[in-house]
């Protein structure tokens, strides 16, 4: 066996041969339990309506929308890392791009569920799509919610295609490494008959470049659309031109953190030390730090704008974040997203996988807190003093959140179990070039 096909053998082992022992089974059970929570939460929601959530005037967007923005934010990073690094000719993308793209596809799929659940009558969600219908109606094109529907759908489709086309040569490797007839059919069907012909490789490289070039602006536009859902209205705390870049930065921040977490977990679970190296993790950590600084800058500008505008309501909304009833959320967000990531300046920390795991998780949690904070602290009070209320999620809100985490874990476990977790041909190419 030549030195090169060690990578292929390892990846084929993970997808096709290694039976899952205790840890893998525990992961499946956890995912299953959380999925069960999701099924219960959704069934209850469909039976009783959104009244089971903690929503009440004036806070009509609660946990569901926070979850939506959080998930789609994490979904931005995978395609972005993969596409931007491809365009910049960074070979080290090979060790992270595949599972980061998978993370994107799953996170975006999960995120799309929340606006649908939030509709009240989720079974009519397709009304937001333009299609010839007997009612003679069309979507409201001036609404950012309609824009958002287009953005998410386009992004999900392009992300899936980009992921799949990139995976074709590896699916052929798995097809040829298959040991059972069932595997041969499964991977043979997915590989579409890839032969590794030079003409195919040529077309494949061009397609990857073009799709990457299309995916990068798409990433930016999609999360800007999400930001417009907020800033298109006049709610104090949301109505700001900062929101586009602020949300894109936040999305990449949480997504890089999630990529880092998944990289460390995968590396540990499948002994991929030689494929996902310490240097790769170090680079990811630097990316995380860089985006973290941008997010911190956005927090600073977010403070500046209300005072610069002189708008009394905007100022009141901002100062209420410091010392209002939800102040703890604001300060906790700052600690998680601004203070903790500063540890990444230290090379020792960037080389310490345990520390990276903790920092990555803190940022993921911090970004969830940020979305929750932005929604609740802007809505619980308004221009009229009489419109003040409190918001606290109910058990059904929380069940939906942990259920969505279960759905993500379940999809990710299936991906790890069935598909190539790292890009075999790119890692091999990278190794050839360094050799």
């Amino acid at each position: 066996m030549s030195a090169q096909n060690v990578i292929a053998a390892r990846v084929a082992d993970i997808a096709q041969r290694t039976p899952w022992r205790t840890r893998g089974r525990v992961a499946v059970w956890i995912a299953g339990a959380l999925l069960a929570a999701l099924i219960v939460a959704v069934t209850m929601l469909l039976a009783k309506g959104t009244g089971i959530w903690g929503l009440d005037r004036p806070v009509m967007w609660g946990l569901a929308i926070a979850n939506y923005v959080w998930w789609i934010g994490m979904g931005m990073a995978g395609t972005f890392i993969s596409a931007a690094l491809l365009l910049l000719r960074q070979d080290w993308r090979a060790s992270v791009n595949r599972f980061a793209e998978a993370m994107t596809v799953f996170a975006v799929s999960v995120s799309g569920l929340f606006p649908i659940f939030h509709l009240g009558r989720p079974w009519f969600f397709y009304w937001v799509a333009p299609y010839p219908n007997a009612m003679g109606t069309w979507p409201q094109w001036r609404s950012s919610l309609t824009w958002d529907f287009f953005a998410i759908s386009a992004y999900l489709i392009v992300s899936i295609v980009y992921w799949y086309i990139g995976m074709l040569p590896d699916l052929a490797t798995l097809r040829d490494a298959a040991t059972t007839q069932r595997q041969r059919y499964f991977y043979g069907f997915l590989a579409l008959g890839w032969r590794g012909a030079s003409t195919q490789w040529r077309a494949h490289a061009s397609a990857a470049r073009l799709l990457a070039g299309l995916a990068v602006p798409l990433v930016f536009s999609v999360h800007t659309m999400v930001a417009l859902d907020f800033s298109q209205g006049i709610v104090a705390g949301w109505h700001s031109s900062l929101f586009g870049p602020f949300f894109v930065g936040g999305a990449l921040f949480s997504g890089f953190a999630m990529t880092l977490v998944l990289a460390i977990v995968l590396r540990r679970a499948f002994a991929l030390d030689r494929l996902i190296t310490d240097t790769d993790l170090d680079r990811l950590a630097k990316l995380l730090l860089a985006v973290g600084i941008f997010v911190a800058y956005c927090y600073a500008v977010e403070l500046l704008i209300p005072f610069y505008s002189g708008d009394a309501q905007e100022i009141a909304a901002t100062t209420a974040r410091f010392d209002g009833p939800f102040a703890w959320l604001y300060w906790l967000t700052l600690i998680c997203n601004v203070v903790v990531p500063q540890a990444l300046w230290s090379p020792t920390v960037r080389r310490n996988r345990g520390a990276l795991l903790v920092i990555g998780t803190t940022v993921v949690v911090g970004m969830w807190l940020e979305r929750f904070m932005l929604i609740v602290t802007s809505l619980y009070r308004s221009y009229l003093p009489s419109v003040e209320g409190r918001y606290w999620p109910t058990v059904w809100d929380w069940l939906l959140l942990i259920g969505s985490i279960g759905l993500f874990i379940a999809m990710f476990l299936l991906f790890v179990r069935l598909l190539p977790v790292v890009s075999v041909y790119e890692l091999r190419k990278r190794r050839e070039q360094t050799a």
């Binding site: 392009v158 052929a172 536009s221």
Partner: protein, 175 residues
């Protein structure tokens, strides 16, 4: 392109490259190479080739963008005009964001379709798959298909040994 010939197996990209050049010089016709990693000439080749891919991207993008914008105009001005706080039916600027997304989506779909055509996929069966060793083409072996038939195998024998071929297989059309 012919799908029959002699399929020569090598164990490294360099051996494949040398053999292809040498056989071409001898007057053989190399038809295609099959490798587990992108061939080295991809690095120096034009970034966007075959040309059908970027053209399909442009075409798909135009169809997606103009199509969506036209649909929005029709829907908001003719099909279902609604007065929202006196805003004009033709709120053209508000129609841009969905059209932007469908432009990118259409361009990506164009790329995918052009890629499938250029790579001649999907094609689940191919005469090459009848060669048992060809399964290694996605793993660690490098193959060169040349325009020759089994009768010419003898003539190639010594040459291929010098070129460090691992083995030679015949590929037949499955007519």
């Amino acid at each position: 392109m012919s799908e029959r010939g002699l399929l020569i197996e090598f164990d490294s990209a360099d051996a494949l490259q040398r053999a292809r050049d040498a056989l071409l010089e001898d007057g053989w016709m190399p038809l295609d190479a099959f490798t587990p990693t992108p061939p080295a000439e991809n690095e120096t080749a034009p970034a966007l080739y075959p040309r059908s891919l970027p053209i399909a991207a442009l075409f798909g993008g135009l169809v997606g963008g103009i199509g969506c914008f036209a649909m929005e105009c029709y829907a908001a001005m003719v099909g279902y005009p609604i007065n929202v706080a006196g805003r004009p039916d033709a709120s053209l600027i508000a129609f841009v964001p969905p059209a932007l997304e469908t432009t990118l989506l259409g361009a990506a779909m164009g790329v995918v379709i052009a890629f499938l055509f250029a790579a001649r996929l999907p094609r689940f069966h191919h005469p090459l798959f009848d060669v048992e060793d060809f399964a290694h083409a996605s793993d660690h072996r490098y193959f060169l298909l040349i325009d020759a038939h089994d009768g010419q195998r003898e003539r190639l024998h010594d040459r291929l040994r010098a070129l460090r071929a691992v083995s030679v297989h015949e590929v037949r059309d499955d007519a």
